[in-house]
């Protein structure tokens, strides 16, 4: 794993009354333990990876508490894990990145919510929406509504988040329904503090095992029970949930002097709307607002009495609900109409239909709202601010002259996946560019410069499946790229098995780097065995053959394993796969361990050796500035952060020359590319011998008689 959570594990052990300090998602983790969970699972992905990562690393402590931790292979298996709470009074929580994880989990979620739960079942969903998002932008809210899952969207303050997790379990048990705690990216990463409570060991746990439940047809999501269960959802569980929400005051009302107006806001947006009000001069730094606010820490279901109660005696309310469609607004509108409440409801008519609600958007929306309903209100500060911002942006644009070059994320220094795309770029010169079916994972960085490759991305592990109908229509075979993470997440069944059943003829490249790298190098089924991970920094992934065996088991015959750094061989293999007469799925296993993991082993080992005075050979690549002509074709085949440009030292030349800067890990791609693409003679490999032995020094002396090196 990329990160060590040693310090964070200690804060999970805090007792009654001690102060927890840390980020939101770890506060949630602590809250799970305070709630007495028996099991926790999930699938990694920003922004919730840390929840599971810290639990996996804290396995000893979890054993002590009797908590079972399951690093699931996908979100469907994580959702199914919650099935334990159907027949047993145990609390459990799972986590994943949403919307994508919820999509994958949705089958199990439907059945789970239909059967209903006995023990509290919590889904901690990282809502990957807005700035920083990396997935399709959709709302998790829709799943909550269609599956009768209650959804919490807590105010982003650690004490509130922790309370909502604890109350979420109670709500789940009081209404026999699973509960989603939805956390936005920044809420997961917000640093704050709360007063901890003691962790609660569960009655039924890995330490205190029980007997299997008796047969009860009503707990099966199967006909005829499903017909009754659907009615139970709306007739029993929903009213029970609403009662609980109202009784425990999960939603919060903040009064304000302008009583005839009001704001209804998703809890997660509360802090930002407060900032917008502050900028308009309508609130102070401590949340005292002139406009009354209803903060919905529970966004589904709404409690009609609370909505009507808040709106009573008001002329107009503004509903601030991020994303689309505007489910809450529709819900509120229906409620108000049914109660014949005469308040004017605003929402998406004044706010952007799509996208994140920034402070600026909210201030603009509030201004429009107030202009209609309280025109005498003086908002000089706010108006000035909005105008100033526009002016500053305009001035900056003028001074900068042209938009700045984008800086998307990319492959790390020495990444084993980069050479595959270099080889593909070279192979295309012979074969023509095939249809390239992309996937989720680090390899998706190949969609950016300098590779700009990929015709579609259909989800995690879906690349091969999404090329299935392309192949039969194209003159040339399509090529699907998939990581080993994607392979185990979904690709093996949705892609490979389906291709085998249908006698597909595509090419599949599997990036076997050994870990779920994009999410923080978590372990996979095919991660290299610990004894293969030595301090030499050599790729260890060849030591595990689970992927190869799985492919063989499914009857895939054309499988070639190629070291990714061997660009020439990779190019030949790609060309062969794209052009061979052989029918059927052709799989190229691009074998090269994640460089982050390798460097995690090499760096400390090298530092120790150097300190001990041992002989260490450090490899670095470089470019000869006097033979480089500055055409940068090497960069167009690489994009490595350490292969960059600098001013041309030759006074007669203008264009910058290529150069390799510090940080080069000596992966060798530059040299391989120079050879495979016949680029130029400027690349050299230098091996610096630290702490040279007597032999090294004598040899150097001899060489220096002739060579001025």
């Amino acid at each position: 794993m990329e990160r060590s959570f040693a310090t964070e594990i200690e804060s999970l052990k805090l007792g009654e009354g001690q102060t927890f300090r840390g980020e939101g998602i770890l506060a949630v983790t602590k809250a799970l333990l305070q709630s007495g969970v028996s099991y926790v699972g999930g699938y990694q992905g920003a922004p919730v990876s840390h929840l599971l990562d810290v639990m996996v690393q804290a396995r000893d402590y979890m054993d002590e508490l009797g908590v079972h931790v399951e690093a699931c292979t996908n979100e469907a298996s994580a959702a199914a894990l919650l099935g334990a709470s159907i027949a047993y009074p145990v609390r459990g929580a799972v986590t994943w990145k949403s919307i994508v994880g919820t999509n994958v989990a949705s089958d199990a979620l439907s059945y789970l919510s239909t059967a209903g739960v006995m023990g509290g079942a919590l889904i901690v969903a990282g809502e990957d929406y807005g700035e920083g998002a990396s997935v399709a932008l959709e709302r998790t809210h829709a799943f909550a509504m269609k599956s009768s899952l209650w959804m919490l969207d807590p105010r982003p303050s650690l004490p509130v988040i922790v309370r909502m997790v604890e109350k979420g379990f109670e709500l789940s048990e009081a209404s026999n329904s699973p509960v989603i705690v939805d956390l936005r990216i920044r809420a997961c990463h917000v640093q704050g503090e709360f007063r901890a409570r003691a962790n609660r060991p569960a009655a039924l746990s890995t330490r205190h095992r029980g007997a299997a439940a008796g047969f009860d047809y009503d707990r099966l999501s199967h006909p005829p029970a499903i017909f009754r269960q659907e009615r139970l959802k709306v007739e029993v569980r929903l009213p029970a949930a609403r009662r609980f929400i109202a009784e425990h005051k999960l939603n919060e009302v903040f009064d304000g002097e302008l009583r005839e107006l009001g704001i209804i806001v998703q809890g997660g947006l509360y802090n930002n709307v407060l900032r917008a009000l502050q900028l308009l001069g309508l609130a102070d730094a401590f949340g005292a607002s002139r406009l009354p606010i209803l903060a919905l820490n529970v966004v589904y279901p709404l409690v009609p009495e609370e909505i009507v109660g808040f709106c009573r005696d008001k002329r107009a309310v503004l509903l601030l609900e991020e994303g689309q469609p505007e489910f809450i607004e529709q819900d509120v509108a229906t409620t108000l109409r049914r109660h014949d409440a005469q308040v004017k409801l605003h929402g998406k008519d004044l706010m952007p239909l799509a996208g994140e609600y920034s402070t600026e958007h909210m201030a603009q929306g509030l201004r429009k709202f107030l202009a209609q309903h309280e025109p005498r209100l003086d908002l000089p500060g706010g108006g000035r601010w909005l105008a100033e911002v526009a002016g500053v942006r305009e001035r900056a644009a003028k001074l900068l002259g042209s938009p700045l070059p984008a800086r998307p994320p990319g492959f790390c220094v020495g990444c084993p996946e980069r050479p595959v795309f270099a080889a593909l770029k070279l192979a295309e010169r012979e074969t023509g560019r095939p249809h390239i079916s992309g996937d989720i994972g680090c390899h998706a960085f190949a969609t950016f410069e300098p590779f700009s490759m990929g015709n579609s991305i259909l989800g995690y592990g879906m690349s091969l499946a999404s090329a299935a109908a392309v192949g039969p229509m194209m003159a040339q075979r399509p090529l699907a790229v998939m990581g080993d993470g994607g392979f185990w997440h979904n690709g093996l069944l949705s892609g490979v098995a389906s291709s085998q059943l249908n006698r597909g003829d595509s090419v599949l490249v599997i990036m076997k780097n050994g870990y779920s790298s994009a999410t923080g190098t978590q372990e996979l089924l095919s991660s290299p065995p610990p004894q293969a991970r030595d301090a030499s920094g050599r790729s260890a992934v060849h030591a595990d053959r689970t992927i190869e065996n799985a492919l063989a088991g499914l009857g895939v015959n054309w499988v070639k394993t190629v070291s990714t750094y061997d660009v020439a061989k990779m190019k030949r293999t790609l060309t062969e796969a794209l052009t061979t007469e052989a029918q059927g799925l052709k799989v190229i296993i691009a074998d090269g361990e994640c460089q982050l993991e390798r460097q995690r082993r090499v760096r400390p080992a090298t530092a120790r050796q150097l300190a001990a005075g041992e002989r260490v050979v450090r490899v670095k690549y470089g470019v000869d500035e006097d033979t480089c002509t500055g055409d940068h074709s090497c960069i167009r085949l690489s994009g490595c952060p350490t292969l960059t440009v600098k001013d041309n030292p030759d006074p007669l030349r203008r264009d910058p020359v290529a150069t390799v800067i510090d940080g080069c890990v000596g992966c060798g791609l530059c040299g391989e590319n120079a050879h495979a693409a016949t680029l130029c003679p400027s690349f050299y490999r230098a091996e610096v011998i630290h702490n040279p032995t007597l032999r090294d020094r004598v040899l150097r002396g001899l060489r220096n008689l002739l060579v001025p090196a």
């Binding site: 300090r21 509360y270 952060p641 016949t678």
Partner: protein, 485 residues
Amino acid sequence: MSIPERSLTVLVAALGGEGGGVLADWLMHAARDCGFPAQATSIPGVAQRTGATTYYLEIFPAKREVLGGREPVMSLTPSPGNVDVMVASELLEAGRAMQNGFVSPERTTLIASTHRIYATVEKMQMADGRFPEERVLAAAKQLAKHAVLFDMRKMAEDNGTVINAVLFGAMTGSGALPLPRAACETAIMRAGKGAQASLRGFAAGYDIAAGARPPPALSPRPPPPETREIIELGVARLRDYQGEAYARLYLERIATLGNADPELVGETGRQLALWMSYEDIIRVADLKTRRSRFARVRQEVGAKDGEPVIMIDYLKPGLDEMASLLPPFLGRRLLSWAGARGKLDAYNVGLHVKTSGIGGYLLMRSLAWLKPWRPRTYRYREEQALIERWLAAVRAAAPGSTALALEIVACAGLLKGYGETHRRGRSNFLAILDDLVQNPAAGDAAARTPAIRNAREAALADPEQKALEKTLGRPVTWLRPAKSR
């Protein structure tokens, strides 16, 4: 004590792996030690993989005790115009902050390092795709209320630490934070590992921002050489390349321009010197075995005195290189044979030559010793003929329009690289020379000048030649501007 009206806001723009998260932790610790409520958020995600990312903090500059149990409500996202301290760990990211409206003249102290880490789109261009730094610097000085700009990466390297320590020091030294120096240093020390180096970096940043010591001197780019200097450099270069007679040939060629515009003479002299010293295998072998080269590599890879450095050169000579050494009639036949069969790149041999070893060194030197043979080679004959053709076109255009002549001169810039890159550049050059210079469709110099420039820029903009093909799509219309990427 009066209670401030609002939180102080800090936005840190960094690149993945620069320690932005640690910097945020330091700030949180320091604020907490002062008893100030504070909050930090970030959007790490995949941006941690070398992309641009941000960290956002709010600090309420009043001790909790005086707040009477009230807790400030802090925003999770920065809003434009409301950033008190904008920190950028790299110059382009400072520009991005300004572009997004986060640097306001009313309020913002901008702390930015002036070094550049080029984005892929900047460095992958055929020519120079770098964003003009001076524009970002000028904008920073105009847009920020107070700007602290110096090369913090250099400062970090000098102090054996990471840039975040210098940034932290500069923030504190600028006086824009409500945190005393001692609290910040305590926060750094708490981290333990590497704390001493971080403290040195912090002190350096602090002192410079506080004006207690001067920022590291910028090494300004040398001004482009003037015409006279260019000719001198050209003569020296060609004397080194092929001897006195060749240098004289250079001067004679320059002399044929007569009393043309000095800028045109300079540019022609520059391109001509580069072209006449074209990189054949003899030249490469010579450059790779010079004492100065070995010394430079040792310095580049950071080898200390007494540490042996093994140098291995990646060479892959093929038919092009072979033909370039042959006499003209043989070279021409070899290449036309190979060209007709599409085998120009079929026989390249990948070599790893250990130039620092005796065998490799002797191999390279023996190639370099072929220098006297060069004037008898096929490549030499070809290059000189094309040079004469190009010079003739320049001479023909010069009396009518210096601008047109300059455009023709600049086309020689397309000839660079090796192997396939060089062939592509040469075919682009020839296409322009054939179509636009020597057989222009119509029009006077005023129309031909931009046409040539557009075609040249199209060839440079898109190394895969797609843009040029589109622009060259016959019948030729050269009005479409080069696609900016």
